[in-house]
């Protein structure tokens, strides 16, 4: 055998080995990440149930779980990174939008406007998020371990039908409740005159955010419905050609 050929196959094997190692590391990390996130949201769920059972009211519940919620929801930013480096095959933009809207809800609405933290709508969306995330992360975990129980798959592709609209209602009601407080305090706003010659009114910004749910929510909802049809019933969906 000519030495040239030998070198060729050795190089090929090395590249393939490198690829396989990268793939194994990625899988290991993703498995750890998804297990950790499942655990985190489970902890949150347990904390909420315990609080309600002990106190009998939802008042003060948000403050009780705020730190845990902030931690695990913020940690989800990593998922954008996963898409960006290609170890998860989802669009960076879609993931980015979803994570950012969650971060926005947590940090820029609920966390910063104390007066609305005891609203029922807050509990609504937090409960919905908890159920959704536990389902989602356990789905990913089982997928990575190649042992996907049918009921997890069923849950992932069916619960959203109810959870999504409920979550949207919770979020919209919360933002709406915060409006008077935002207006009164003028928070996160910049008035003229200033040396940057720009102004920003958080009150109107929130109204625009609420309005943006109108075009965005149906798109995401129907995207999930299409995915559901494809996964559960094996239907071939003809995508619109650009």
């Amino acid at each position: 055998m000519a030495s040239g050929e030998e070198d060729g196959t050795v190089e090929e094997k090395e590249t393939n080995n490198k690829k396989r190692t990268k793939g194994t590391i990625a899988t290991a990390w993703l498995t750890f990440y998804n297990i950790a996130m499942t655990a985190g949201w489970l902890v949150l769920a347990v904390a909420m149930v315990r609080y309600y059972l002990q106190k009998g009211t939802h008042k003060g519940l948000y403050r009780n779980i705020a730190k845990t919620l902030k931690f695990f929801q913020t940690f989800a930013l990593l998922e954008v990174g996963h898409c960006a480096i290609g170890i998860v095959r989802t669009s960076v933009i879609v993931t980015g939008v979803q994570v950012c809207s969650r971060i926005f809800m947590v940090w820029f609405v609920t966390n910063s406007i104390r007066q609305i933290q005891n609203e029922e709508s807050v509990i609504l969306f937090v409960v919905v998020w908890t159920i959704t995330e536990i389902t989602r992360y356990s789905f990913y975990t089982f997928n990575l371990l190649n042992h996907l129980p049918y009921f997890i798959k069923w849950a992932r592709y069916n619960m959203f039908i109810v959870m999504y609209p409920l979550g949207v209602i919770g979020e919209l009601l919360t933002i709406h409740a915060s409006l008077p407080y935002v207006r009164r305090s003028g928070m996160y706003s910049l008035r003229l005159p200033n040396k940057y010659n720009v102004s920003f009114d958080y009150y109107y910004f929130l109204i625009i955010v609420m309005l943006s749910y109108i075009p965005l929510f149906p798109q995401l909802y129907f995207h999930m419905l299409r995915q559901r049809r494809r996964v559960l019933h094996g239907e071939i969906v003809v995508e619109k050609d650009e």
């Binding site: 005159p193 200033n194 040396k195 010659n197 102004s199």
Partner: protein, 300 residues
């Protein structure tokens, strides 16, 4: 000696036979399929690139029966129309804010003028820029494609008109704050702006002269006697470089964050276009100068 071919046209998506021509001469006639020619995309492969108007049937890699695939490109609109609309908007919108037309600012300011001379200067620069663009569209540019999809006009106008309104609102606002470094800053900004306007125009003229009227030939642009074109030595798309420079000048002149934001977004888009153009130059011409970068010398 006539070479006759048989031609069949299939729909690219459904593969339905749309039309069959028994005896076709050298050139495929642009026939009516209920869609006007600009909407028709004829290609050899359903997922491939469109054939050009100039392509000759005889010279295509087909057998005695040529199979073409048809794709409807959707409603089309001419490039000239799009450009004129998207540029006329900012020109007029900015002027509305400049003259403080009612219902924009508080009623006591209606039809008043700003007390800052830089605001008048900014209006002149902004208006000059868009008048220049309109005139270039009418008299200078030679477009490779006649048309683009209709939905582009809505997208493009939203972008141009929206940003123009956003910028104009603050620059012409009664509570506008002039640049920190005053006259020095404005003078420098104006110099940069004018320099880049002349530069941008020079590049457009140079590109126009590359292509004789009516032709669609493509050549590598080179520096001419005009010093403003010497930048071709370092950059593939200097028109975008100068455009960026103009808007940086305008940002400096007005010291307005929305203008900076508009400049940034424009820069990102122009970089994408420049990289694409640079890549196609490299693909098309073996001897393309290696020193050139797409938009920023040596950097990008």
């Amino acid at each position: 000696q006539k070479h006759h071919k048989k031609v069949e046209i299939l729909d690219a998506k459904t593969k339905d036979k749309l039309c069959f021509l028994d005896k076709v001469g050298k050139v495929l006639p642009s026939f009516s399929l209920h869609w006007y020619p600009a909407r028709q995309s004829i290609r050899l492969d359903p997922k491939g690139k469109s054939l050009k108007d100039e392509d000759v049937l005889q010279h295509l890699p087909v057998g005695t029966t040529a199979t073409f695939y048809f794709r409807d490109l959707g409603a089309q609109i001419s490039w000239v129309t799009v450009f004129l609309t998207e540029y006329a908007g900012p020109l007029l919108i900015y002027l509305m804010f400049y003259f403080r037309v009612p219902f924009i600012y508080a009623p006591k300011y209606d039809f008043t003028t700003s007390k800052h001379w830089v605001v008048h200067l900014a209006c002149m620069c902004h208006s000059f820029h868009y008048v220049k663009r309109l005139l270039e569209t009418l008299f200078v540019h030679r477009f490779s494609h006649g048309t683009m999809p209709l939905r582009n006009i809505f997208k493009n106008c939203t972008y141009y008109w929206g940003f123009a309104a956003w910028m104009a609102y603050y620059i012409n606002h009664p509570l506008y704050t002039p640049p920190i470094y005053g006259e020095q800053q404005i003078r420098l900004a104006l110099t940069v702006f004018l320099f880049c306007q002349i530069g941008n125009f020079s590049i457009h003229i140079a590109l126009r002269n590359l292509r004789p009227p009516g032709s669609k030939t493509r050549k590598i642009p080179y520096p001419t006697k005009n010093p403003f074109t010497w930048i071709f030595l370092l950059v593939s798309c200097p028109n975008y470089t100068y455009e960026l420079g103009s808007w940086l000048g305008f940002t400096l002149m007005t010291q307005c964050l929305p203008v900076a934001f508009f400049t940034l977004v424009g820069f990102i888009q122009m970089t994408v276009w420049a990289k694409g153009k640079h890549r196609s130059y490299l693909k098309e011409f073996r001897d393309y100068p290696t020193l050139r970068s797409p938009i920023l010398p040596f950097i990008l």
